[in-house]
């Protein structure tokens, strides 16, 4: 069998990937927890953010990490406008409706990207792309380590915003009881759009951390959609802690699965977890039973 040090490296690798997954899933779980909608366009939005980072680097030479202050607000605005102008209007409250609308949006976004940028897979070159750091017996790529720390920092910021600020209180109030919140003078539509914006802003951050060690093509998001859903379902829909733990767990499962079953078949592990959780514990690890 495999050496323990390989297993250790694989787990470490999984955790760093998992942190970025967690960041993507946090946005998804926030949107689900508050708006009670499943944002199918999450993967496509990540793809948009990745292209944003890519073109900032290619056209004006901006380092992906320095692009954070541009990409994150831009994705926030994109999400806010998307929710206010299309999703909210089309929703008619029913769950399936939003599912279809967000599916439609993701189809449009992905194929517009295909139309304008062709199906080429692109990546960027930075000075630190190939730098590695030694942790114990394992070597880990520097961008992945930065992504890991960055994802944790952003998650911590998001959690404390939700926990300690007035905005966070308002969001939690709307999530629990939107009619009551409206009676208390909270602009529910505004909060909805804010949440959607924050959810996509997480993707903006994730894109900045991902790209130095990853690539972008029009279909890159669809690979993340099911992974992010798996994490959200695993952790419990709407649970932030669940998304974090689930993200790390899925990252490790994918990495170990890849080690033992090979790169492509390793992904199956994620979907089997997904199906099993949906069937046997749909409330997730940290979710309350509905």
């Amino acid at each position: 069998m495999f050496d323990l040090s390989i297993l250790f490296a694989s787990v470490l690798n999984g955790i760093t990937t998992g942190a970025v997954y967690a960041l993507i899933a946090l946005g998804l779980t926030l949107i689900y927890g508050v708006l009670h909608i499943i944002n199918f366009a999450h993967g496509a939005s990540l793809m948009v953010a990745l292209y944003g980072v890519y073109f900032l680097k290619e056209k004006i030479g901006l380092d992906p990490y320095l692009a954070l202050p541009i990409v994150v607000p831009a994705m926030f605005a994109f999400g806010y406008i998307l929710q206010r102008s299309i999703i909210n209007r089309a929703s008619h409250v029913k769950d399936e409706n939003i599912l279809l609308v967000t599916l439609g949006i993701s189809i449009v976004l992905e194929n517009l990207a295909l139309l304008f940028f062709k199906s080429d897979t692109r990546n960027i070159e930075t000075a630190y792309t190939l730098t590695t750091v030694n942790i114990g017996s394992a070597m880990i790529a520097l961008p992945k380590l930065v992504a890991f720390v960055g994802a944790l920092v952003v998650s911590a910021i998001l959690l404390s915003v939700m926990r300690f600020t007035f905005l966070g209180r308002a969001i939690r109030a709307v999530a629990k009881e939107k009619h009551g919140a409206r009676l208390m003078g909270i602009d529910v539509d505004h909060v909805y759009a804010l949440c959607f914006g924050i959810g996509l802003a997480c993707l903006g951050a994730a894109a900045c951390f991902l790209l130095p060690a990853y690539y972008v093509n029009p279909m890159v998001g669809s690979g993340f959609v099911l992974v992010a859903f798996t994490i959200v379902v695993l952790g419990g829909m709407g649970s932030f802690v669940g998304a974090l733990v689930g993200g790390l767990l899925v990252g490790v499962v994918e990495s170990i699965g890849g080690l033992y079953l090979g790169e492509s078949l390793g992904q199956v592990g994620i979907f089997i977890i997904f199906i099993a959780v949906l069937l046997f514990r749909p409330q997730g690890l940290f979710g309350a039973r509905a």
Partner: protein, 325 residues
């Protein structure tokens, strides 16, 4: 019955097209439009009549396609028998997926996600094992003859797919008038109420996914016979799932002619955009996505259930919108 005479007229009209023209462009258009109708109708049985939105109908399509080609290439089976096997196997897969997800009461978005996940699992597995040809895919050798289900002109394929569409139309018409169809629509509209009057929702939904999967599988088998090639992305990729669902929703879910109208509309639309903008990658999917969003926003009952009735519908069409609570 009115529905069946309408179907007979439709079949006669469409079936006679190859007698008036042998233009490859026209026949190809008719064939592809009918093929799109078939997918939309298959989805409509589970999604429109059963209210269970599947995002992974490509699962059944892919199973049908792979069974069709594998039985011929590996076992030397006759394609007509292979077609029956493909339909049967898709039905079996449908019953497995349905038994699992309905047993545990998956509904709405959860059901949509789990079907998507099943399709992904099949895609990844078929990419990795040898007997599906892995990433290279499988080719069906070219041997034109009737017994080989390979025709020298498009007309043969038009009649073949027309036969499958007719099967789907008759099934749908049967759903509209039979006891089982009434049960299915009752479960869609209010599962608890249906249970209270003695309908077993599990059994009803399971039968619906089996029928729907079988028809979708026949679509996959047809695809392979025409294009003689299949790979994991074509078989289980999201494109086919989307095409099936958008066609049914745009035309009007839970109706007899809705999926036909929807699939035809989308097909014409895609062709027009192709003529306007030239052969650009992804342009027809942009059109599909936009139409889907617009329809859900402004005509939640689809074209045939909307204000202008193209076909008279007596039964109530399901609406995907609901009054705000």
């Amino acid at each position: 019955m009115k529905d069946f005479s309408a179907i007979a007229v439709f079949v006669l009209l469409v079936g006679s097209i190859p007698f008036f023209t042998n233009s490859g462009v026209v026949l190809n258009f008719v064939m592809m439009a009918l093929y799109a109708c078939l997918l939309a109708q298959a989805w409509n049985i589970l999604g429109g009549f059963g209210g269970q939105f599947s995002f992974g109908h490509a699962l059944f399509f892919g199973v049908g396609a792979y069974v069709q080609v594998m039985t011929q290439v590996h076992l030397g089976c006759n394609p007509w028998i292979a077609l029956l096997l493909a339909i049967g196997m898709s039905a079996v897969v449908g019953s497995c997926v349905g038994a699992l997800s309905f047993r545990y009461g998956l509904k709405g978005s959860y059901f949509a996600l789990v079907t998507l996940a099943f399709a992904e699992v099949f895609r990844i597995v078929s990419l990795s094992v040898a007997f599906t040809g892995a990433g290279v895919g499988l080719m069906l050798p070219l041997r034109e003859s009737f017994s080989n289900m390979q025709f020298d002109s498009r007309a043969g394929y038009v009649w073949l797919v027309l036969g499958l569409v007719t099967l789907a139309l008759c099934t749908t018409a049967w759903l509209r008038h039979s006891r089982f169809g009434a049960y299915l629509q009752a479960v869609r509209d209010n599962e608890d109420a249906a249970r209270a009057i003695g309908v077993d929702p599990f059994k009803v939904k399971l039968s619906a996914i089996v029928i729907s999967g079988a028809l979708m599988g026949s679509g996959g088998a047809f695809y392979v016979q025409v294009f003689q090639y299949i790979d994991p992305g074509l078989a289980f990729g999201p494109h086919t799932s989307v095409e099936a669902l958008v066609g049914a929703i745009v035309g009007g879910m839970g109706t007899l002619w809705g999926p036909v109208v929807g699939a035809l509309t989308l097909h014409v639309l895609a062709d027009v955009t192709r003529n306007l903008f030239g052969q650009l990658p992804g342009i027809n999917m942009v059109v599909y996505g936009t139409v889907l969003v617009l329809i859900v926003m402004f005509m939640p009952r689809g074209i045939s259930g909307g204000r202008f009735h193209l076909f008279k519908q007596t039964s109530k069409t399901p609406s995907i919108s609901k009054e705000p609570v």
